[in-house]
């Protein structure tokens, strides 16, 4: 048996153990079975000073068929667990959407018919629950999501043995970050530092300007909310390959939130922070203070919506955002009620962002 197969067998056994417990509860003990799952969310998210990231607390939830709301959930979890077991048994891999389709069915008789899943969100939740139950990240189930992260620069990846050089000379395209990370290895990194940006449009602009060649950097984006593979890539580059990581996002509460996903983690994935979070990364921009400092023209600034303001107020209350720096930024935003996208620098010319703003910021931070 290859080591991977062995790992598969371990996971399969874990799932079988869960099934056995449920069966025993009913047949032997004669009690309502129940699954104990760590609670995920704000009220079970704890800041760890030692790790400098968000971690999951001790709270758990019981999912058992003892309330009418939980009966479907309980069944859904078991069905998903069984589907994952099958997937591993067959040595196949699947996306989360694939898992949704594989387990799709209808429940009930003609009179009271409904769908087993009301949507993919339900099945995604079930996959998450199995991760938590087995304490195995879903990538090891061979369940992945559609790749959306992108990378460019002097780095060579090996995906299932195929070598991929991301230093694409044409400046015209980037490499998708594969989500089947079990098959992914970083072979070589020649860059001096890693720059993460929020959006792929901004990444394209920077890449086209020749930034990579000029500063010997790796450019990386999660195309908005980063998926797990992107976050893990950043972490690996920082911790295994010792490359400094800087992050640029839009100057609005959502952008700041995305930047912080890389740096401190998120509430919904707090149980997986150890694999995903890069505490040493630096969030350099775009700061709310930059809006005035770089004198972004009024016309390129956006008025904050009520939703933005609510979100900023929410963020201010989070215990892990009590750091003076974040508080100052959020207060500034709440005071001026203005936001700004990185794209706003295009107002000063298409090369301003890559030629002026970013180098300035990087110099200030001592990265270049």
């Amino acid at each position: 048996m290859s080591p991977k197969d062995k790992r598969h067998q371990e996971i399969i056994n874990k799932i079988r153990k869960i099934m056995k417990n449920v069966g025993d509860d009913v047949l032997v003990e004669g009690i309502m079975p129940s699954l104990e799952i760590p609670k995920v969310g704000y009220d079970n998210t704890v800041w760890s000073d030692e790790k400098r990231m968000l971690t999951i607390g001790n709270k758990t939830v019981q999912i058992g068929p003892n309330s009418s709301k939980k009966i479907p959930t309980f069944a859904q979890y078991l069905v998903m667990a069984n589907a994952i077991r099958k997937l591993l048994d067959e040595e196949m891999e699947s996306t989360i959407r694939g898992m949704y389709y594989a387990t799709l069915s209808t429940v009930g008789d003609e009179k009271n018919q409904q769908k087993f899943w009301s949507g993919q969100d339900d099945s995604d939740d079930a996959i998450k629950a199995i991760e938590l139950l087995t304490n195995v990240p879903r990538e090891e189930f061979a369940v992945t999501s559609k790749p959306k992260g992108m990378i460019s620069g002097p780095i060579t990846l090996s995906v299932g043995g195929d070598l991929i050089d991301c230093n694409l000379g044409s400046r015209a395209t980037s490499q998708l970050i594969p989500t089947n990370i079990r098959d992914l290895e970083i072979v070589n990194v020649k860059a001096d530092f890693v720059m993460v940006v929020e959006k792929d449009t901004v990444l394209n602009n920077i890449r086209k300007s020749g930034f990579i060649q000029k500063y010997n950097a790796i450019l990386l984006t999660g195309s908005g909310e980063p998926d797990r593979a992107t976050r893990m890539m950043v972490k690996m580059l920082n911790e295994k390959w010792k490359k400094p990581v800087v992050i640029f996002a839009d100057a609005d509460p959502w952008g700041l939130g995305i930047a912080l996903r890389y740096k401190i983690g998120s509430e919904s994935l707090s149980y997986d922070s150890d694999r995903l979070v890069t505490p040493n990364s630096k969030v350099l921009g775009m700061m709310f203070s930059d809006i005035d400092e770089y004198n972004i023209p009024k016309v390129a600034r956006l008025v904050a919506t009520q939703e933005d303001l609510n979100r900023a107020n929410d963020m201010k209350k989070k215990p892990w955002l009590q750091d003076k720096r974040w508080k100052r930024e959020l207060n500034l935003f709440l005071e001026h009620k203005e936001k700004c996208e990185l794209d706003a620098f295009f107002k000063y010319g298409f090369k301003y962002l890559a030629d002026t703003y970013l180098p300035n910021k990087l110099r200030e931070a001592g990265v270049i």
Binding site: I15, R16, M19, K20, V22, G23, V26, L27, E29, G30, I31, M32, P65, N66, S68, I71, P72, F74, A75, L78, V79, A81, N82, R85, K86, S105, V107, G108, D109, K111, N112, F116
Partner: protein
């Protein structure tokens, strides 16, 4: 100035005409002032009586049944009514409608007038009756005369008279009956088998759409709800249904009463004076004898307030009398009495609600094609409750009655509206009862919107009012000598005066009365839903397990199902325990039990309640031994 000129011109004009002088004449249309016979007026304006196109047959059914019920109740006769509606000539849309009852009948010499002459009625008195205007039957007679060459056939047998038969038509131009034929019916040809009775048969030209047909069914079945003491047979081309008599109790007949002084106007006062014309009674005497709640002293006080000189009553002029009227409007009197009203009453309405008939149209496909067959089904609810209010709405005494039937064979929400025991079927949306229902929150039943929507999530209702998710029938009955109808069609009631307030308090009261029971019903429903959920989801769970590990899936499935059932029923005893521990709740329970038992006047018909209360008692006992959470109970 100008008027003078005009008269001069006119005078000149007339002179000129007299002199036959040719001058250009103004076009003058001469207006003729004719008197129209009542019959002609009503035929021309048939919508006033509700007789419009589609609704002719519906209104005819309505008028005939109402007349029959009135004529039975007047003498406290348990009604037996036979209504027949058959198509006579499909090509020309001719229908034969006939209605036979065992009411008091009409004396033979009065029959032609009573049947054919508009605005002739034995009901022009101050008391609650279904019909009031003396229009309904006449309308049928007039339409039959107008549209067909068939005579109206009438059989009547009144007290101390033998049975008479008539062929009648209406002279629409003069509002007079035409008696084509009249005879004393011999025993062997008799149509009326009871001591007294009345039968009328008419041919009408009308169209009957499926919608109207259903309205007729609704009308008859709803009539049977508020008149469970009547035996009503309904015969159509689709078959025959009988609504059996479910109780012998009849409501007390309404009595004629004197008008209330706050309702006085010049007309009523003058009429009162006229009544005492030859008796040399003083105005004071007339007032105290002609109006209720008017003592001699009170009458004296009013006359002195009005500052009227003493003189014979008929010598007062209108200017003096109007002062009496005005004073009366500003004086406080005791609330009017309600002897002239005849509410349905708790006993009778409860019987009606617990044996609610609905007409079902069965379609059978036989060799000879599809045949429809009418049948009636009784819907037994799990519980009912009743509440009423006596109130004064714009000076008219009014009784509001409200009933609730819940669960059991009742599947969905329905609102029943009655005015003076007549079902109201149209314009529900604009009726005050609708407003009342949406304004009284169901939290008065001790249940929340969320609970209801969860348990009845499958119910399809266009409304977002939560109460409409429940399997509940709500009944409103308004009785008054003057119902504040919204339209001339008499199909919806307006929110006049404090009527809505009283209806709301009545409904709130009911909600509170049934709260404990509804909660239990809801709990039962929840259990039922839960068991169904288990039934649906256990196969998924068992399948997931048995695919993953070696296990006896049948045994697992059975064990799981048993566990689930025990779990659900165990929870139920727990909940009942909580209800019974609450002493207030307990009292409430007692009250309802009493209500229910007292409702059960004629025994077995209400057995459903008794069983339910019994269930309650027994589960109460069980709970003492079974307080533990069920999972431990099963862990032997």
């Amino acid at each position: 100035m100008t008027s003078k000129v005009t008269t001069e011109v006119l005078e000149k004009g007339t002179k000129q005409v007299k002199n036959n002088l040719q001058i250009p004449q103004k076009q003058i249309t001469k207006i003729r002032y004719d008197k129209k016979a009542e019959s002609e007026f009503f035929v021309d304006n048939s919508a006033l009586a509700g007789f419009t196109g589609e609704r002719i047959l519906y209104m005819s059914v309505r008028e005939l049944i109402e007349n029959s019920l009135d004529s039975c109740e007047i003498n406290h006769i348990l009604p037996v009514i036979h209504l027949r509606l058959k198509q006579l000539d499909p090509l020309n849309d001719l229908w034969t409608i006939s209605c036979k009852d065992n009411g008091v009948g009409i004396p033979s010499e009065k029959v032609p007038v009573a049947v054919c002459s508009f605005l002739t009625s034995g009901k022009y008195v101050e008391k609650q009756q279904r019909g009031l205007f003396g229009v309904g039957l006449k309308m049928i007679a007039a339409f039959s005369t107008k549209d067909t060459d068939h005579p109206l056939r009438v059989w009547s047998k009144s007290e101390e008279e033998s049975e008479y038969y008539f062929d009648l038509r209406t002279d629409i131009g003069t509002n007079k009956p035409i008696t084509l034929f009249k005879k004393n019916v011999k025993n062997d040809e008799s149509q009326l088998e009871y001591e007294t009775g009345f039968k009328v048969e008419a041919v009408l030209r009308a169209k009957l759409s499926p919608v109207t047909k259903n309205k007729i069914y609704d009308y008859i079945s709803q009539t049977s709800i508020v008149n469970p003491y009547a035996r009503i047979t309904f015969e159509t081309d689709d078959g025959k249904v009988t609504f059996k008599r479910r109780t012998e109790i009849m409501p007390n007949p309404s009595r004629e009463v004197l008008p209330h002084p706050s309702d006085m106007d010049l007309k009523t006062l003058k009429k009162a004076i006229l009544n005492f014309m030859n008796q040399k009674t003083t105005l004071q005497g007339i007032l105290s004898n002609s109006f209720q709640k008017m003592s001699n002293d009170k009458a004296k006080e009013i006359i002195s307030k009005a500052g009227l000189p003493v003189k014979p009553a008929d010598k007062y002029d209108e200017h003096e009398l109007i002062r009496v009227v005005n004073i009366c409007k500003h004086t406080k009197f005791q609330s009017p009495n309600t002897d002239h009203l005849s509410p349905i009453g708790e006993k009778i309405l409860t019987v009606g609600m617990t044996s609610e008939y609905s007409i079902i149209l069965n379609k059978e496909t036989a060799n000879s094609g599809t045949q429809t067959q009418l049948s009636a089904k009784i819907l037994k609810p799990a519980l009912t409750a009743y509440s009423s209010r006596i109130c004064v709405v714009t000076n008219r005494p009014t009784i509001v009655e409200c009933g609730i039937a819940y669960g059991g064979e009742i599947q969905s929400f329905k609102l029943f509206r009655f005015a003076n025991k007549i079902p109201l079927l149209y314009d529900e949306g604009s009726d005050v009862a609708r407003e009342v229902i949406s304004e009284v929150g169901i939290n008065k039943m001790g249940i929340s919107k969320k609970e209801v929507k969860e348990q009845y999530s499958h119910v399809e209702t266009k409304s977002d009012r939560t109460v409409e998710y429940l399997p509940i029938h709500i009944f409103f009955h308004i009785c008054s000598t003057k119902i504040p109808y919204k339209t001339a069609g008499k199909e919806s009631i307006a929110s006049e005066g404090d009527l809505k307030k009283y209806m709301k308090s009545c409904l709130s009261d009911l909600y509170r009365k049934v709260s404990a029971q509804i909660r239990r019903e809801l709990k039962l429903k929840e259990d039922e839903n839960k068991i169904r959920l288990y039934k649906h989801y256990i196969p998924f769970i068992v399948n997931a397990i048995s695919e993953s590990i070696k296990i006896d899936s049948k045994r697992l499935s059975n064990a799981f199902q048993n566990l689930a059932e025990k779990y659900v029923s165990g929870e139920f005893t727990n909940i009942t325990k909580q209800i019974f521990l609450n002493s207030d709740q307990n009292k409430n329970e007692e009250k309802i039990k009493k209500t229910l038992v007292s409702n059960g006047e004629d025994g077995n018909k209400l057995s459903k309640f008794d069983t339910r209360t019994n269930i309650l008692k027994s589960s109460n006992k069980i709970k003492l031994t079974k307080v533990e959470v069920p999972r431990k109970v099963t862990k032997k």
